[in-house]
Symmetry: C2
Amino acid sequence: MNPPTANSATPVTDVRVREVGPRDGLQSIARTMPTEAKNRWVAALAASGLRTIEVGSFVPPKLLPQMADAAAVVQAARGLPGLTVAALAPNLRGARDALAAGAQELVIPVSASNEHSLANVRMTTEQAVAEAQAICAWRDSLPAATRPVVGIALSTSFGCSLAGPVSEDRVVGLAAQLAAGGADAVHLADTVGYANPVQVKRLTARVRRELGGKLGAGHFHNTRGQGLANAVAALEAGVTTLDASLAGLGGCPYAPGATGNIVTEDLVFLLESMGLRTGVDLEKLIAARAVIAAALPGEPLYGHLADAGLPKGFVYAAGIA
Amino acid sequence: MNPPTANSATPVTDVRVREVGPRDGLQSIARTMPTEAKNRWVAALAASGLRTIEVGSFVPPKLLPQMADAAAVVQAARGLPGLTVAALAPNLRGARDALAAGAQELVIPVSASNEHSLANVRMTTEQAVAEAQAICAWRDSLPAATRPVVGIALSTSFGCSLAGPVSEDRVVGLAAQLAAGGADAVHLADTVGYANPVQVKRLTARVRRELGGKLGAGHFHNTRGQGLANAVAALEAGVTTLDASLAGLGGCPYAPGATGNIVTEDLVFLLESMGLRTGVDLEKLIAARAVIAAALPGEPLYGHLADAGLPKGFVYAAGIA
Protein backbone atom coordinates (compact mmCIF):
# COMPACT_ATOMS: atom_id res chain seq x y z
CA MET A 1 0.00 0.00 0.00
CA ASN A 2 2.96 2.37 0.15
CA PRO A 3 3.20 4.64 -2.87
CA PRO A 4 6.31 3.52 -4.71
CA THR A 5 7.10 7.11 -5.58
CA ALA A 6 6.93 8.67 -2.14
CA ASN A 7 10.37 7.79 -0.95
CA SER A 8 12.33 7.83 -4.16
CA ALA A 9 14.85 10.57 -4.78
CA THR A 10 12.95 12.05 -7.72
CA PRO A 11 9.27 11.30 -7.19
CA VAL A 12 7.12 11.13 -10.29
CA THR A 13 3.98 13.14 -9.74
CA ASP A 14 1.08 13.85 -12.02
CA VAL A 15 -0.39 16.45 -9.68
CA ARG A 16 1.58 18.66 -7.33
CA VAL A 17 -0.32 19.18 -4.08
CA ARG A 18 0.77 22.43 -2.42
CA GLU A 19 0.11 22.34 1.29
CA VAL A 20 -1.00 25.76 2.56
CA GLY A 21 -2.15 24.92 6.09
CA PRO A 22 0.73 26.52 8.01
CA ARG A 23 -0.07 29.78 6.19
CA ASP A 24 -3.74 29.81 5.09
CA GLY A 25 -4.81 27.63 8.00
CA LEU A 26 -3.12 29.42 10.84
CA GLN A 27 -3.96 32.93 9.65
CA SER A 28 -7.63 32.25 10.34
CA ILE A 29 -7.08 30.94 13.86
CA ALA A 30 -6.74 33.54 16.61
CA ARG A 31 -4.38 31.44 18.72
CA THR A 32 -0.69 31.41 17.86
CA MET A 33 0.91 28.01 17.32
CA PRO A 34 4.36 27.77 18.92
CA THR A 35 7.22 27.84 16.43
CA GLU A 36 8.42 24.43 17.52
CA ALA A 37 4.99 22.92 16.77
CA LYS A 38 4.91 24.59 13.35
CA ASN A 39 8.29 23.08 12.59
CA ARG A 40 7.13 19.61 13.61
CA TRP A 41 3.97 20.04 11.50
CA VAL A 42 5.91 21.13 8.42
CA ALA A 43 8.38 18.27 8.92
CA ALA A 44 5.53 15.75 9.20
CA LEU A 45 3.92 17.13 6.04
CA ALA A 46 7.20 16.90 4.16
CA ALA A 47 7.78 13.37 5.46
CA SER A 48 4.46 12.30 3.92
CA GLY A 49 5.82 13.21 0.50
CA LEU A 50 4.43 16.72 -0.01
CA ARG A 51 7.02 18.65 -2.00
CA THR A 52 5.78 22.26 -1.70
CA ILE A 53 4.56 23.79 1.54
CA GLU A 54 3.48 27.38 2.13
CA VAL A 55 4.88 27.74 5.62
CA GLY A 56 4.03 31.30 6.59
CA SER A 57 3.19 34.86 5.71
CA PHE A 58 5.53 37.85 5.82
CA VAL A 59 3.11 40.48 7.06
CA PRO A 60 3.46 42.94 9.94
CA PRO A 61 3.17 41.00 13.23
CA LYS A 62 0.70 43.54 14.55
CA LEU A 63 -1.72 42.50 11.77
CA LEU A 64 -1.17 38.74 12.01
CA PRO A 65 0.73 37.87 15.19
CA GLN A 66 0.26 34.17 14.31
CA MET A 67 2.85 34.72 11.55
CA ALA A 68 5.44 36.65 13.55
CA ASP A 69 7.85 33.69 13.46
CA ALA A 70 7.61 33.18 9.67
CA ALA A 71 11.35 33.66 9.15
CA ALA A 72 12.21 31.02 11.74
CA VAL A 73 9.73 28.56 10.21
CA VAL A 74 11.12 29.14 6.72
CA GLN A 75 14.65 28.60 7.98
CA ALA A 76 13.74 25.35 9.69
CA ALA A 77 11.83 24.12 6.64
CA ARG A 78 14.85 24.74 4.43
CA GLY A 79 16.57 21.96 6.35
CA LEU A 80 14.06 19.39 5.04
CA PRO A 81 15.33 17.44 2.02
CA GLY A 82 13.52 17.81 -1.30
CA LEU A 83 11.09 20.45 -0.09
CA THR A 84 10.27 23.69 -1.89
CA VAL A 85 9.59 26.26 0.82
CA ALA A 86 6.92 28.80 -0.13
CA ALA A 87 5.78 31.90 1.75
CA LEU A 88 3.19 34.58 1.23
CA ALA A 89 4.22 38.22 0.97
CA PRO A 90 1.74 41.01 0.25
CA ASN A 91 4.36 43.60 -0.70
CA LEU A 92 8.00 44.15 -1.65
CA ARG A 93 9.10 44.47 1.94
CA GLY A 94 7.57 41.11 2.80
CA ALA A 95 9.08 39.57 -0.33
CA ARG A 96 12.56 40.76 0.64
CA ASP A 97 12.11 39.39 4.16
CA ALA A 98 10.84 36.05 2.84
CA LEU A 99 13.78 35.67 0.49
CA ALA A 100 16.23 36.70 3.20
CA ALA A 101 14.79 33.96 5.42
CA GLY A 102 15.29 31.42 2.66
CA ALA A 103 11.92 31.11 0.90
CA GLN A 104 12.25 29.60 -2.58
CA GLU A 105 8.75 30.39 -3.80
CA LEU A 106 6.84 33.60 -3.08
CA VAL A 107 3.07 33.89 -3.22
CA ILE A 108 1.84 37.44 -3.78
CA PRO A 109 -1.88 38.02 -3.20
CA VAL A 110 -3.75 40.18 -5.69
CA SER A 111 -7.52 40.34 -5.31
CA ALA A 112 -9.64 40.45 -8.44
CA SER A 113 -12.27 42.12 -6.29
CA ASN A 114 -11.29 45.68 -5.43
CA GLU A 115 -13.39 45.51 -2.25
CA HIS A 116 -11.53 42.43 -1.04
CA SER A 117 -8.20 43.93 -2.06
CA LEU A 118 -8.82 46.96 0.11
CA ALA A 119 -9.93 44.79 3.05
CA ASN A 120 -7.12 42.26 2.69
CA VAL A 121 -4.05 44.29 1.80
CA ARG A 122 -5.29 47.89 2.08
CA MET A 123 -4.48 48.51 -1.57
CA THR A 124 -6.74 48.77 -4.58
CA THR A 125 -6.42 45.93 -7.07
CA GLU A 126 -4.52 48.33 -9.32
CA GLN A 127 -2.07 49.14 -6.53
CA ALA A 128 -1.64 45.45 -5.72
CA VAL A 129 -0.87 44.70 -9.38
CA ALA A 130 1.75 47.47 -9.36
CA GLU A 131 3.24 46.04 -6.15
CA ALA A 132 3.38 42.58 -7.73
CA GLN A 133 5.14 44.04 -10.75
CA ALA A 134 7.61 45.81 -8.47
CA ILE A 135 8.32 42.48 -6.79
CA CYS A 136 8.94 40.85 -10.17
CA ALA A 137 11.28 43.69 -11.18
CA TRP A 138 13.18 43.31 -7.90
CA ARG A 139 13.36 39.55 -8.47
CA ASP A 140 14.84 40.21 -11.94
CA SER A 141 17.49 42.46 -10.41
CA LEU A 142 18.82 39.61 -8.26
CA PRO A 143 21.63 37.28 -9.30
CA ALA A 144 20.02 34.48 -11.30
CA ALA A 145 20.93 31.76 -8.81
CA THR A 146 19.20 33.55 -5.94
CA ARG A 147 15.92 34.46 -7.65
CA PRO A 148 12.79 33.05 -6.02
CA VAL A 149 9.84 31.76 -8.00
CA VAL A 150 7.11 34.43 -7.89
CA GLY A 151 3.52 33.25 -8.09
CA ILE A 152 0.45 35.45 -7.83
CA ALA A 153 -2.55 34.24 -5.84
CA LEU A 154 -5.39 35.88 -7.74
CA SER A 155 -7.88 36.01 -4.88
CA THR A 156 -11.67 36.11 -5.27
CA SER A 157 -11.30 34.94 -8.87
CA PHE A 158 -14.64 33.14 -8.64
CA GLY A 159 -16.60 35.63 -6.57
CA CYS A 160 -16.32 37.81 -3.49
CA SER A 161 -18.31 37.82 -0.27
CA LEU A 162 -17.99 41.63 -0.18
CA ALA A 163 -18.63 42.47 -3.85
CA GLY A 164 -20.59 39.43 -5.08
CA PRO A 165 -19.89 38.15 -8.60
CA VAL A 166 -16.51 39.00 -10.18
CA SER A 167 -16.24 39.52 -13.93
CA GLU A 168 -14.43 36.68 -15.69
CA ASP A 169 -13.07 39.14 -18.26
CA ARG A 170 -11.52 41.06 -15.40
CA VAL A 171 -9.90 37.92 -13.97
CA VAL A 172 -8.50 36.90 -17.35
CA GLY A 173 -7.24 40.44 -17.94
CA LEU A 174 -5.54 40.62 -14.56
CA ALA A 175 -3.97 37.19 -15.01
CA ALA A 176 -2.57 38.22 -18.39
CA GLN A 177 -1.30 41.52 -17.00
CA LEU A 178 0.42 39.81 -14.06
CA ALA A 179 2.02 37.16 -16.27
CA ALA A 180 3.22 39.83 -18.67
CA GLY A 181 4.57 41.74 -15.66
CA GLY A 182 6.91 38.89 -14.83
CA ALA A 183 4.99 36.51 -12.57
CA ASP A 184 6.09 32.92 -13.00
CA ALA A 185 2.59 31.61 -12.27
CA VAL A 186 -0.90 32.90 -11.58
CA HIS A 187 -2.92 30.82 -9.12
CA LEU A 188 -6.71 31.09 -9.37
CA ALA A 189 -8.16 31.28 -5.87
CA ASP A 190 -11.73 30.72 -4.75
CA THR A 191 -11.06 32.62 -1.54
CA VAL A 192 -14.59 32.45 -0.18
CA GLY A 193 -15.95 29.19 -1.58
CA TYR A 194 -18.24 30.61 -4.26
CA ALA A 195 -17.00 28.61 -7.27
CA ASN A 196 -18.74 25.80 -9.11
CA PRO A 197 -17.25 23.23 -11.50
CA VAL A 198 -18.70 24.74 -14.68
CA GLN A 199 -17.27 28.15 -13.79
CA VAL A 200 -13.93 26.66 -12.73
CA LYS A 201 -13.57 24.76 -15.96
CA ARG A 202 -14.56 27.74 -18.11
CA LEU A 203 -12.44 30.37 -16.36
CA THR A 204 -9.41 28.11 -15.88
CA ALA A 205 -9.47 27.17 -19.56
CA ARG A 206 -9.65 30.86 -20.53
CA VAL A 207 -6.72 31.76 -18.28
CA ARG A 208 -4.76 28.79 -19.59
CA ARG A 209 -5.28 29.97 -23.16
CA GLU A 210 -3.85 33.37 -22.18
CA LEU A 211 -1.04 32.19 -19.91
CA GLY A 212 -0.04 28.73 -21.12
CA GLY A 213 2.57 27.34 -18.74
CA LYS A 214 2.13 30.28 -16.36
CA LEU A 215 -1.26 28.95 -15.24
CA GLY A 216 -0.57 28.16 -11.59
CA ALA A 217 -2.39 26.31 -8.85
CA GLY A 218 -6.10 25.91 -8.33
CA HIS A 219 -6.85 27.13 -4.81
CA PHE A 220 -10.27 26.07 -3.55
CA HIS A 221 -12.09 26.43 -0.30
CA ASN A 222 -14.72 23.95 0.76
CA THR A 223 -17.11 26.51 2.20
CA ARG A 224 -20.18 25.06 0.51
CA GLY A 225 -18.93 21.49 0.18
CA GLN A 226 -17.99 21.87 -3.46
CA GLY A 227 -14.21 22.07 -3.09
CA LEU A 228 -13.20 18.66 -4.43
CA ALA A 229 -15.65 18.89 -7.34
CA ASN A 230 -13.99 22.19 -8.23
CA ALA A 231 -10.54 20.64 -7.92
CA VAL A 232 -11.51 17.94 -10.42
CA ALA A 233 -12.89 20.59 -12.77
CA ALA A 234 -9.61 22.51 -12.57
CA LEU A 235 -7.65 19.38 -13.44
CA GLU A 236 -9.90 18.84 -16.44
CA ALA A 237 -9.09 22.38 -17.57
CA GLY A 238 -5.34 21.76 -17.38
CA VAL A 239 -4.30 22.67 -13.84
CA THR A 240 -1.54 20.41 -12.49
CA THR A 241 -1.05 22.00 -9.06
CA LEU A 242 -3.72 22.11 -6.37
CA ASP A 243 -3.57 23.88 -3.03
CA ALA A 244 -4.97 22.15 0.03
CA SER A 245 -4.76 22.26 3.81
CA LEU A 246 -4.29 19.36 6.20
CA ALA A 247 -7.51 18.86 8.18
CA GLY A 248 -9.09 21.66 6.13
CA LEU A 249 -7.78 24.49 8.26
CA GLY A 250 -8.08 27.86 6.66
CA GLY A 251 -9.97 30.94 5.70
CA CYS A 252 -9.19 34.57 5.03
CA PRO A 253 -9.56 36.78 8.12
CA TYR A 254 -10.48 39.72 5.85
CA ALA A 255 -13.11 37.91 3.76
CA PRO A 256 -16.40 37.51 5.63
CA GLY A 257 -17.68 33.93 5.60
CA ALA A 258 -14.47 32.39 4.31
CA THR A 259 -13.88 28.93 5.73
CA GLY A 260 -11.33 26.21 5.30
CA ASN A 261 -9.42 24.99 2.30
CA ILE A 262 -10.04 21.66 0.68
CA VAL A 263 -8.70 18.89 2.89
CA THR A 264 -5.26 17.68 1.80
CA GLU A 265 -5.78 14.08 2.82
CA ASP A 266 -9.19 13.84 1.10
CA LEU A 267 -7.71 15.48 -2.02
CA VAL A 268 -4.72 13.15 -2.15
CA PHE A 269 -7.01 10.15 -1.72
CA LEU A 270 -9.25 11.41 -4.53
CA LEU A 271 -6.32 12.03 -6.87
CA GLU A 272 -4.67 8.68 -6.21
CA SER A 273 -8.02 6.91 -6.65
CA MET A 274 -8.39 8.65 -10.00
CA GLY A 275 -5.02 7.28 -11.07
CA LEU A 276 -3.12 10.54 -10.59
CA ARG A 277 0.19 10.24 -8.77
CA THR A 278 0.86 12.69 -5.94
CA GLY A 279 3.90 11.07 -4.34
CA VAL A 280 2.19 11.33 -0.96
CA ASP A 281 1.82 8.54 1.61
CA LEU A 282 -1.71 8.85 3.01
CA GLU A 283 -1.01 7.10 6.28
CA LYS A 284 1.84 9.49 7.07
CA LEU A 285 -0.29 12.42 5.98
CA ILE A 286 -3.15 11.43 8.28
CA ALA A 287 -0.68 10.91 11.10
CA ALA A 288 0.41 14.55 10.70
CA ARG A 289 -3.02 15.65 11.96
CA ALA A 290 -1.88 14.67 15.44
CA VAL A 291 0.61 17.55 15.44
CA ILE A 292 -2.21 20.05 14.91
CA ALA A 293 -4.43 18.35 17.46
CA ALA A 294 -1.68 18.51 20.08
CA ALA A 295 -0.65 22.10 19.35
CA LEU A 296 -4.14 23.57 18.95
CA PRO A 297 -6.32 21.50 21.30
CA GLY A 298 -10.02 21.86 20.58
CA GLU A 299 -9.52 23.27 17.08
CA PRO A 300 -11.96 21.53 14.70
CA LEU A 301 -10.18 19.21 12.28
CA TYR A 302 -12.10 18.53 9.08
CA GLY A 303 -11.92 15.80 6.49
CA HIS A 304 -13.53 12.45 5.84
CA LEU A 305 -10.64 10.10 5.08
CA ALA A 306 -9.15 10.29 8.56
CA ASP A 307 -12.42 8.88 9.96
CA ALA A 308 -13.34 6.50 7.15
CA GLY A 309 -9.91 5.10 6.38
CA LEU A 310 -8.76 3.76 3.04
CA PRO A 311 -11.06 1.47 1.05
CA LYS A 312 -10.48 -2.27 1.21
CA GLY A 313 -8.12 -3.12 -1.64
CA PHE A 314 -7.04 0.50 -2.20
CA VAL A 315 -3.98 0.93 -4.41
CA TYR A 316 -2.04 4.11 -5.08
CA ALA A 317 -2.03 5.44 -8.64
CA ALA A 318 1.52 4.26 -9.20
CA GLY A 319 0.30 0.73 -8.50
CA ILE A 320 -2.66 0.89 -10.90
CA ALA A 321 -1.95 -1.18 -13.99
CA MET B 1 -33.88 34.74 -5.37
CA ASN B 2 -36.84 32.34 -5.54
CA PRO B 3 -36.48 29.73 -8.26
CA PRO B 4 -39.16 30.59 -10.79
CA THR B 5 -39.80 26.91 -11.41
CA ALA B 6 -40.32 25.75 -7.85
CA ASN B 7 -43.94 26.63 -7.52
CA SER B 8 -45.18 26.24 -11.06
CA ALA B 9 -47.53 23.42 -11.94
CA THR B 10 -45.07 21.68 -14.26
CA PRO B 11 -41.58 22.55 -13.06
CA VAL B 12 -38.84 22.47 -15.65
CA THR B 13 -35.88 20.59 -14.25
CA ASP B 14 -32.58 19.68 -15.80
CA VAL B 15 -31.66 17.34 -12.96
CA ARG B 16 -34.09 15.38 -10.83
CA VAL B 17 -32.91 15.23 -7.24
CA ARG B 18 -34.35 12.16 -5.51
CA GLU B 19 -34.47 12.64 -1.77
CA VAL B 20 -33.68 9.37 0.04
CA GLY B 21 -33.25 10.59 3.63
CA PRO B 22 -36.49 9.17 5.07
CA ARG B 23 -35.37 5.74 3.80
CA ASP B 24 -31.57 5.64 3.48
CA GLY B 25 -31.07 8.12 6.30
CA LEU B 26 -33.34 6.60 8.91
CA GLN B 27 -32.33 2.99 8.27
CA SER B 28 -28.87 3.78 9.62
CA ILE B 29 -30.10 5.43 12.81
CA ALA B 30 -31.03 3.14 15.68
CA ARG B 31 -33.73 5.43 17.05
CA THR B 32 -37.17 5.34 15.46
CA MET B 33 -38.57 8.65 14.26
CA PRO B 34 -42.27 9.03 15.10
CA THR B 35 -44.58 8.68 12.10
CA GLU B 36 -45.92 12.18 12.55
CA ALA B 37 -42.39 13.62 12.36
CA LYS B 38 -41.64 11.60 9.22
CA ASN B 39 -44.78 13.00 7.64
CA ARG B 40 -43.80 16.57 8.52
CA TRP B 41 -40.30 15.95 7.16
CA VAL B 42 -41.58 14.53 3.87
CA ALA B 43 -44.05 17.39 3.55
CA ALA B 44 -41.30 19.95 4.16
CA LEU B 45 -39.09 18.27 1.55
CA ALA B 46 -41.91 18.28 -0.98
CA ALA B 47 -42.70 21.92 -0.19
CA SER B 48 -39.12 22.85 -1.12
CA GLY B 49 -39.77 21.59 -4.65
CA LEU B 50 -38.35 18.05 -4.49
CA ARG B 51 -40.52 15.90 -6.75
CA THR B 52 -39.40 12.36 -5.85
CA ILE B 53 -38.89 11.17 -2.29
CA GLU B 54 -38.00 7.68 -1.13
CA VAL B 55 -40.09 7.68 2.02
CA GLY B 56 -39.49 4.24 3.49
CA SER B 57 -38.53 0.62 3.18
CA PHE B 58 -40.90 -2.37 3.10
CA VAL B 59 -38.83 -4.83 5.07
CA PRO B 60 -39.78 -6.98 8.07
CA PRO B 61 -40.15 -4.70 11.12
CA LYS B 62 -38.03 -7.08 13.18
CA LEU B 63 -35.09 -6.31 10.87
CA LEU B 64 -35.61 -2.54 10.59
CA PRO B 65 -38.10 -1.36 13.22
CA GLN B 66 -37.41 2.21 12.08
CA MET B 67 -39.38 1.37 8.92
CA ALA B 68 -42.37 -0.37 10.53
CA ASP B 69 -44.65 2.55 9.64
CA ALA B 70 -43.65 2.66 5.97
CA ALA B 71 -47.22 2.09 4.76
CA ALA B 72 -48.54 4.99 6.82
CA VAL B 73 -45.78 7.30 5.59
CA VAL B 74 -46.42 6.34 1.96
CA GLN B 75 -50.14 6.99 2.41
CA ALA B 76 -49.56 10.41 3.93
CA ALA B 77 -47.04 11.33 1.22
CA ARG B 78 -49.57 10.46 -1.49
CA GLY B 79 -51.59 13.41 -0.27
CA LEU B 80 -48.85 15.85 -1.28
CA PRO B 81 -49.44 17.46 -4.67
CA GLY B 82 -47.00 16.78 -7.49
CA LEU B 83 -44.90 14.29 -5.54
CA THR B 84 -43.77 10.88 -6.81
CA VAL B 85 -43.69 8.61 -3.76
CA ALA B 86 -40.92 6.01 -3.89
CA ALA B 87 -40.23 3.13 -1.51
CA LEU B 88 -37.61 0.43 -1.22
CA ALA B 89 -38.62 -3.22 -1.31
CA PRO B 90 -36.09 -6.06 -1.21
CA ASN B 91 -38.50 -8.74 -2.41
CA LEU B 92 -41.87 -9.42 -4.03
CA ARG B 93 -43.69 -9.39 -0.72
CA GLY B 94 -42.33 -5.93 0.09
CA ALA B 95 -43.13 -4.73 -3.42
CA ARG B 96 -46.75 -5.85 -3.07
CA ASP B 97 -47.01 -4.12 0.30
CA ALA B 98 -45.46 -0.93 -1.05
CA LEU B 99 -47.84 -0.81 -3.99
CA ALA B 100 -50.81 -1.57 -1.74
CA ALA B 101 -49.81 1.38 0.45
CA GLY B 102 -49.72 3.63 -2.62
CA ALA B 103 -46.05 3.79 -3.66
CA GLN B 104 -45.65 4.90 -7.26
CA GLU B 105 -41.99 4.03 -7.67
CA LEU B 106 -40.29 0.93 -6.26
CA VAL B 107 -36.59 0.65 -5.58
CA ILE B 108 -35.31 -2.93 -5.51
CA PRO B 109 -31.78 -3.41 -4.12
CA VAL B 110 -29.48 -5.80 -5.95
CA SER B 111 -25.86 -5.90 -4.80
CA ALA B 112 -23.16 -6.30 -7.39
CA SER B 113 -21.02 -7.72 -4.59
CA ASN B 114 -22.22 -11.17 -3.59
CA GLU B 115 -20.81 -10.67 -0.08
CA HIS B 116 -22.84 -7.49 0.39
CA SER B 117 -25.91 -9.12 -1.13
CA LEU B 118 -25.79 -11.91 1.43
CA ALA B 119 -25.27 -9.45 4.29
CA ASN B 120 -27.91 -6.98 3.10
CA VAL B 121 -30.78 -9.12 1.80
CA ARG B 122 -29.67 -12.67 2.72
CA MET B 123 -29.73 -13.67 -0.93
CA THR B 124 -26.89 -14.21 -3.38
CA THR B 125 -26.66 -11.64 -6.16
CA GLU B 126 -28.10 -14.26 -8.50
CA GLN B 127 -31.07 -14.81 -6.19
CA ALA B 128 -31.61 -11.07 -5.88
CA VAL B 129 -31.62 -10.69 -9.66
CA ALA B 130 -34.20 -13.48 -9.90
CA GLU B 131 -36.30 -11.73 -7.23
CA ALA B 132 -36.07 -8.46 -9.16
CA GLN B 133 -37.20 -10.23 -12.31
CA ALA B 134 -40.11 -11.77 -10.40
CA ILE B 135 -41.10 -8.30 -9.26
CA CYS B 136 -40.99 -7.04 -12.85
CA ALA B 137 -43.12 -9.99 -14.02
CA TRP B 138 -45.65 -9.29 -11.25
CA ARG B 139 -45.64 -5.61 -12.24
CA ASP B 140 -46.40 -6.62 -15.85
CA SER B 141 -49.33 -8.72 -14.67
CA LEU B 142 -51.04 -5.68 -13.15
CA PRO B 143 -53.54 -3.50 -14.98
CA ALA B 144 -51.52 -0.91 -16.89
CA ALA B 145 -52.90 2.04 -14.93
CA THR B 146 -51.82 0.59 -11.58
CA ARG B 147 -48.26 -0.47 -12.47
CA PRO B 148 -45.51 1.13 -10.39
CA VAL B 149 -42.19 2.22 -11.84
CA VAL B 150 -39.58 -0.38 -10.91
CA GLY B 151 -36.02 0.79 -10.49
CA ILE B 152 -33.08 -1.35 -9.38
CA ALA B 153 -30.55 0.08 -6.95
CA LEU B 154 -27.38 -1.71 -8.05
CA SER B 155 -25.54 -1.52 -4.74
CA THR B 156 -21.75 -1.64 -4.33
CA SER B 157 -21.35 -0.85 -8.05
CA PHE B 158 -18.11 1.01 -7.32
CA GLY B 159 -16.65 -1.26 -4.66
CA CYS B 160 -17.59 -3.10 -1.50
CA SER B 161 -16.29 -2.77 2.05
CA LEU B 162 -16.66 -6.54 2.47
CA ALA B 163 -15.30 -7.75 -0.89
CA GLY B 164 -13.09 -4.86 -2.00
CA PRO B 165 -13.05 -3.93 -5.68
CA VAL B 166 -16.03 -4.97 -7.83
CA SER B 167 -15.55 -5.89 -11.49
CA GLU B 168 -16.93 -3.27 -13.87
CA ASP B 169 -17.76 -5.98 -16.39
CA ARG B 170 -19.90 -7.62 -13.73
CA VAL B 171 -21.73 -4.35 -12.98
CA VAL B 172 -22.39 -3.70 -16.67
CA GLY B 173 -23.56 -7.28 -17.15
CA LEU B 174 -25.91 -7.12 -14.17
CA ALA B 175 -27.31 -3.79 -15.29
CA ALA B 176 -28.01 -5.18 -18.77
CA GLN B 177 -29.58 -8.32 -17.33
CA LEU B 178 -31.83 -6.32 -15.00
CA ALA B 179 -32.93 -3.94 -17.74
CA ALA B 180 -33.64 -6.86 -20.06
CA GLY B 181 -35.60 -8.45 -17.20
CA GLY B 182 -38.04 -5.56 -17.17
CA ALA B 183 -36.58 -2.93 -14.82
CA ASP B 184 -37.53 0.59 -15.82
CA ALA B 185 -34.24 1.99 -14.54
CA VAL B 186 -30.97 0.81 -13.02
CA HIS B 187 -29.46 3.14 -10.41
CA LEU B 188 -25.71 2.90 -9.87
CA ALA B 189 -25.01 3.07 -6.14
CA ASP B 190 -21.73 3.78 -4.38
CA THR B 191 -23.06 2.21 -1.19
CA VAL B 192 -19.87 2.55 0.85
CA GLY B 193 -18.23 5.67 -0.58
CA TYR B 194 -15.46 4.01 -2.59
CA ALA B 195 -16.03 5.68 -5.97
CA ASN B 196 -13.91 8.29 -7.69
CA PRO B 197 -14.86 10.59 -10.58
CA VAL B 198 -12.80 8.77 -13.23
CA GLN B 199 -14.43 5.47 -12.31
CA VAL B 200 -17.90 7.02 -12.11
CA LYS B 201 -17.57 8.57 -15.53
CA ARG B 202 -16.19 5.40 -17.11
CA LEU B 203 -18.66 2.95 -15.57
CA THR B 204 -21.69 5.20 -15.96
CA ALA B 205 -20.88 5.75 -19.63
CA ARG B 206 -20.54 2.00 -20.16
CA VAL B 207 -23.88 1.31 -18.48
CA ARG B 208 -25.51 4.09 -20.46
CA ARG B 209 -24.27 2.56 -23.70
CA GLU B 210 -25.92 -0.72 -22.70
CA LEU B 211 -29.11 0.65 -21.17
CA GLY B 212 -29.81 3.97 -22.91
CA GLY B 213 -32.85 5.57 -21.27
CA LYS B 214 -32.93 2.90 -18.56
CA LEU B 215 -29.82 4.37 -16.91
CA GLY B 216 -31.22 5.52 -13.59
CA ALA B 217 -29.99 7.66 -10.73
CA GLY B 218 -26.47 8.15 -9.50
CA HIS B 219 -26.45 7.30 -5.79
CA PHE B 220 -23.35 8.52 -3.99
CA HIS B 221 -22.23 8.50 -0.40
CA ASN B 222 -19.84 11.12 0.91
CA THR B 223 -17.82 8.74 3.07
CA ARG B 224 -14.45 10.04 1.90
CA GLY B 225 -15.58 13.54 0.94
CA GLN B 226 -15.75 12.77 -2.75
CA GLY B 227 -19.53 12.58 -3.14
CA LEU B 228 -20.20 15.81 -5.00
CA ALA B 229 -17.21 15.31 -7.31
CA ASN B 230 -18.70 11.92 -8.19
CA ALA B 231 -22.13 13.46 -8.74
CA VAL B 232 -20.63 15.91 -11.26
CA ALA B 233 -18.83 13.03 -12.99
CA ALA B 234 -22.12 11.12 -13.26
CA LEU B 235 -23.82 14.13 -14.84
CA GLU B 236 -21.00 14.37 -17.36
CA ALA B 237 -21.61 10.73 -18.25
CA GLY B 238 -25.30 11.33 -18.89
CA VAL B 239 -27.06 10.78 -15.58
CA THR B 240 -30.01 13.14 -15.05
CA THR B 241 -31.21 11.91 -11.65
CA LEU B 242 -29.14 12.11 -8.47
CA ASP B 243 -29.99 10.69 -5.06
CA ALA B 244 -29.22 12.74 -1.97
CA SER B 245 -30.20 13.01 1.66
CA LEU B 246 -31.11 16.14 3.60
CA ALA B 247 -28.35 16.87 6.13
CA GLY B 248 -26.43 13.90 4.75
CA LEU B 249 -28.17 11.29 6.84
CA GLY B 250 -27.60 7.76 5.71
CA GLY B 251 -25.58 4.63 5.45
CA CYS B 252 -26.25 0.94 5.02
CA PRO B 253 -26.57 -0.95 8.31
CA TYR B 254 -25.24 -4.10 6.59
CA ALA B 255 -22.21 -2.48 4.92
CA PRO B 256 -19.36 -1.84 7.38
CA GLY B 257 -18.05 1.72 7.23
CA ALA B 258 -20.91 3.09 5.16
CA THR B 259 -21.74 6.66 6.07
CA GLY B 260 -24.13 9.30 4.86
CA ASN B 261 -25.37 10.19 1.42
CA ILE B 262 -24.37 13.34 -0.36
CA VAL B 263 -26.12 16.30 1.23
CA THR B 264 -29.24 17.36 -0.66
CA GLU B 265 -28.90 21.06 0.08
CA ASP B 266 -25.21 21.14 -0.93
CA LEU B 267 -26.04 19.18 -4.11
CA VAL B 268 -28.92 21.46 -5.09
CA PHE B 269 -26.72 24.51 -4.50
CA LEU B 270 -23.98 22.98 -6.65
CA LEU B 271 -26.36 22.10 -9.47
CA GLU B 272 -28.08 25.48 -9.50
CA SER B 273 -24.69 27.23 -9.43
CA MET B 274 -23.68 25.14 -12.43
CA GLY B 275 -26.73 26.38 -14.31
CA LEU B 276 -28.72 23.16 -13.89
CA ARG B 277 -32.33 23.61 -12.82
CA THR B 278 -33.61 21.47 -9.95
CA GLY B 279 -36.88 23.22 -9.18
CA VAL B 280 -35.89 23.33 -5.50
CA ASP B 281 -36.02 26.37 -3.22
CA LEU B 282 -32.86 26.24 -1.11
CA GLU B 283 -34.19 28.31 1.75
CA LYS B 284 -37.17 26.00 2.18
CA LEU B 285 -34.89 22.98 1.87
CA ILE B 286 -32.55 24.22 4.58
CA ALA B 287 -35.55 25.03 6.77
CA ALA B 288 -36.59 21.36 6.53
CA ARG B 289 -33.49 20.40 8.55
CA ALA B 290 -35.30 21.74 11.61
CA VAL B 291 -37.77 18.86 11.41
CA ILE B 292 -34.94 16.33 11.73
CA ALA B 293 -33.26 18.31 14.50
CA ALA B 294 -36.49 18.40 16.50
CA ALA B 295 -37.40 14.74 15.95
CA LEU B 296 -33.91 13.27 16.43
CA PRO B 297 -32.25 15.59 18.94
CA GLY B 298 -28.46 15.21 19.03
CA GLU B 299 -28.27 13.44 15.67
CA PRO B 300 -25.37 14.93 13.67
CA LEU B 301 -26.57 16.98 10.72
CA TYR B 302 -24.04 17.32 7.92
CA GLY B 303 -23.67 19.78 5.09
CA HIS B 304 -21.91 23.06 4.44
CA LEU B 305 -24.56 25.28 2.86
CA ALA B 306 -26.73 25.45 5.96
CA ASP B 307 -23.80 27.02 7.85
CA ALA B 308 -22.30 29.11 5.06
CA GLY B 309 -25.48 30.40 3.47
CA LEU B 310 -25.93 31.36 -0.16
CA PRO B 311 -23.24 33.47 -1.87
CA LYS B 312 -23.81 37.19 -2.22
CA GLY B 313 -25.52 37.72 -5.56
CA PHE B 314 -26.50 34.05 -5.95
CA VAL B 315 -29.05 33.36 -8.70
CA TYR B 316 -30.83 30.11 -9.40
CA ALA B 317 -30.14 28.41 -12.73
CA ALA B 318 -33.49 29.48 -14.13
CA GLY B 319 -32.40 33.07 -13.58
CA ILE B 320 -29.01 32.70 -15.27
CA ALA B 321 -29.05 34.45 -18.63
